[in-house]
């Protein structure tokens, strides 16, 4: 049985949806960050798969940028989580609503 392009795209779609659902419904900020990583990696899979299928390497190069940005985002995100935790002794996202009307 051949592994066709569609398989990759299905995998990516499933991962992305899991990420979205995780981000929307989990209250733990760290898990939400992990969900973001999941979405980014889902996109990475799409990029690599399509790049391979179309014979254009620029998609694979874009993946490196995504990974670099993801690393930076994770570092800043975790730092923010620590800072926020120091203030409120919780990382429940529903506790942070300073911008409420």
């Amino acid at each position: 049985m051949d592994i066709t392009l569609n398989w990759y795209l299905y995998l990516s779609a499933i991962l992305f949806t899991m990420g979205v659902i995780g981000f929307l419904f989990r209250r733990d900020v760290i898990v939400m960050l992990m969900s973001i990583e999941l979405m980014l990696n889902a996109v990475n899979i799409t990029l690599v798969a399509l790049s391979q299928a179309m014979g254009n390497p620029s998609g694979q190069i874009l993946v490196f940028f995504v990974m670099a940005v993801a690393a930076a985002e994770a570092a800043i995100g975790l730092a923010l989580v620590i800072a926020a935790f120091r203030g409120k002794l919780t990382i429940d996202v529903t506790e942070f609503n300073l911008f409420k009307y």
Partner: protein
């Protein structure tokens, strides 16, 4: 060195001196104590340009040299270069400014000794010289304006030099603001001239003057004259100059007597061909000048502060110079600028020397602790200083006689020439000049009287300060007396540069040939006829007679009766005297007519406008936004998941729309 590099030297050395003393003094506190070095640098940076001017002067071949350093600004049709012009007029003014300036720098080393701001003082003085040279050498009105504003700034800095006393800062503000009024007129004049001629170079302006619309030209000349009344302290903007005496005395001598206040006359002389095309404005200039001369002279008689007398005397003498300008004898105005720089510089430096000496007495009195207060500038507590300060006394006497117009001293030549020119204008078709001439003659008498009064009250008679039997002022150090002697010498011989036309038909009048000769930069009004030689001699005799009579009268009144003669005058003239002593209540009138309405307007019109209209507009926008968003604001939950849900919903919606 060629003339171009000499111009570089002339311009940049004073700036360099200001930078060295200013920056090192600012950032290196140990520099501030090295008075010798600071004074040496400050003086050298003015004396070397003086030498450069001498070299240029000796080598001048009659053709103006214009040096362009670089383009300052270029926008559309307007191109302004940093261009500097060496010609007869700028050479003469440059020699006076740097020459008298060097002497006053030397004098300041002694006068400012021990002052905390010694470094600051020399930095400001050098900056002033730089700006003044920009004003004199500038080849277009914009560079001239740069210098014009620059000297105003330095004047402000130096009037308020002892800024810890609030009155000094107020005087500085007053000078600056009154000057700004004149500067505004200058600025508008530049706009008009640029619109009409299309260039601001002096030579293009002079060439384009003939083809200008006469009305616009008159307006422009009038506005330039308004600018000159601010800088040169004429009616209606003269009240700042007496207040400017709050500055250190060398400043009064350099800026407020010898150089800066004459820049208005320099401007009019520089543009003299244009001014000649506006005869109506010239009449106005002459009348304003004559009135100022008389008003200031009458005030000077009643003042007791030695520097105030000299300040009003300066205003009065500047009035004479404007008379010369107004009757079309621009070179005579410059001649009087020069002789005035000599004798008034000497008088101011002499008064500084007196104040220096009286300070000593004041300190001794404080030391005694008897509670005696002494104002070191008040002539009522002076008297008899000639035995303690012989050099100051001699030089003060010489320059007093020079300004009074005693024959063969410098003031005699220049003032007589002004009166003669006014008489000539009156005889040949300008009847308004009769008024000007008459006022000028009356003022000459007053000048002799008030100057001799100042001399007698200060140096003659018996000392009037407390404990005069054992407390004596001392003669000032050589760094102060040597400049005094040099200036006194110049006040004696300076007049021979302008020997009047009664001798050899004016062939010996060097300054006339130099400035207003065939190629000279200064134009003059030419009259249809000549005054008969006998009448000219009679006028000279009248001028000399008035000076001599004034001096003798003043001498007799004040040596015999001293201060009580003032009281006698006061009793005799009552109301008139109070008017003079109150300075014609011009300050009070301005207070009522200008200052109060402006403050009232600010308080009752503009403050409410700002508070209710401007602020109301801003607050209204904010209120409107809030009112309109009373429903939408509930979307702003502050919770990250709800925003994220919004984003997901939006993405899904967009994808849906794109696909189906």
């Amino acid at each position: 060195m060629d003339s171009v590099s000499l111009i570089h030297v002339i311009l940049f050395l004073p700036l360099l001196g200001a930078a060295i003393n200013g920056l090192l003094g600012l950032f290196l506190p140990s520099w501030r104590d090295r008075e010798g070095l600071i004074g040496l640098i400050g003086t050298a940076m003015v004396a070397l340009p003086f030498l450069a001017f001498v070299v240029l002067f000796l080598g001048y071949d009659g053709t103006a040299v214009v040096t362009r350093l670089f383009t300052w600004m270029a926008a559309g049709d307007l191109t302004v270069d940093f261009a500097y012009r060496i010609d007869e007029l700028s050479l003469l003014m440059g020699l006076v400014v740097t020459g008298v300036g060097s002497l006053i720098h030397v004098y300041s080393i002694g006068y400012m000794h021990g002052d905390d701001g010694f470094w600051r003082f020399f930095a400001y003085l050098n900056l002033f010289i730089f700006m003044m040279l920009n004003l004199i050498l500038g080849d277009n009105l914009v560079v001239l304006f740069l210098g014009w504003e620059g000297v105003g700034l330095c004047s402000y800095l130096l009037i308020g030099f002892w800024y810890k006393n609030l009155a000094n800062s107020a005087a500085a503000n007053k000078a600056f603001i009154m000057n700004r009024i004149g500067d505004f007129a200058y600025l508008v004049a530049m706009f008009i001239l640029f619109r009409e001629v299309g260039s601001l170079d002096v030579s293009s302006l002079i060439a384009g003057g003939e083809s200008m619309d006469p009305t616009m030209l008159s307006v422009a000349v009038f506005l330039l004259f308004m600018g000159a009344t601010g800088k040169s302290a004429q009616i209606p903007l003269f009240t700042w100059l007496p207040d400017a005496m709050a500055g250190p005395t060398p400043v009064s001598a350099l800026i407020h007597a010898a150089t800066m206040v004459t820049s208005g006359l320099y401007l009019l002389a520089r543009l003299s061909p244009l001014v000649l095309l506006a005869p109506g404005v010239m009449t106005l200039i002459a009348i304003v000048g004559a009135t100022t001369a008389l008003v200031a002279a009458t005030i000077a008689i009643t003042q007791n502060d030695i520097k105030k007398v000299l300040a009003y005397s300066t205003v009065s003498q500047l009035g004479y110079m404007f008379v010369a300008t107004g009757v079309g004898a621009f070179y005579v105005a410059i001649f009087h600028v020069m002789t005035h720089a000599f004798f008034k510089g000497c008088l101011f430096l002499g008064s500084g020397s007196v104040i220096h000496g009286m300070h000593h007495v004041e300190h001794e009195l404080e030391h005694d602790g008897h509670g005696h207060k002494l104002d070191p500038q008040d002539m009522r507590t002076m008297g008899g200083l000639k035995q303690f300060m012989p050099a100051t006394r001699m030089t003060f006497l010489i320059s007093t006689l020079a300004i009074a117009g005693i024959p063969l001293l410098s003031g005699f030549f220049s003032k007589d020439e002004i009166l003669f020119k006014a008489f000539e204008a009156a005889s040949f078709g300008f009847p308004a000049a009769w008024f000007v001439w008459g006022v000028g003659v009356a003022t000459a008498l007053l000048t002799a009287i008030y100057m001799i009064r100042a001399y007698v009250l200060t140096f003659e008679g018996a000392p009037r300060w407390p404990h005069a039997d054992r407390l004596h002022p001392h003669e000032s150090p050589a760094s102060m007396t040597v400049p005094l002697w040099v200036l006194a010498g110049l006040s004696v011989v300076g007049g021979f540069l302008g020997i009047p036309a009664i001798i050899a038909h004016g062939d010996l009048n060097w300054i006339h040939h130099w400035l207003a000769g065939e190629h000279g930069p200064v134009a003059e009004r030419v009259f249809d006829g000549h005054i008969a030689l006998a009448l000219e001699w009679a006028l000279v005799a009248l001028g000399s007679g008035i000076a001599v009579v004034g001096v003798i009268l003043g001498w007799r009144w004040y040596t015999r009766q001293g201060l009580s003669f003032d009281d006698a005058l006061q009793a005799r003239f009552g109301g008139l005297w109070r008017l003079f002593q109150g300075k014609y209540f011009v300050d009070e009138a301005y207070e009522k007519a200008v200052v109060r309405p402006v403050i009232g307007g600010a308080r009752y019109v503009f403050a409410p406008f700002d508070k209710y209209i401007v602020d109301g507009l801003v607050n209204g926008v904010a209120f409107l936004t809030r009112a309109l968003s009373f429903m939408l604001k509930y979307l702003q939950t502050g919770l990250v998941p709800s925003y994220a849900a919004g984003i997901v919903f939006g993405v899904v919606l967009i994808v849906w729309l794109m696909l189906f």
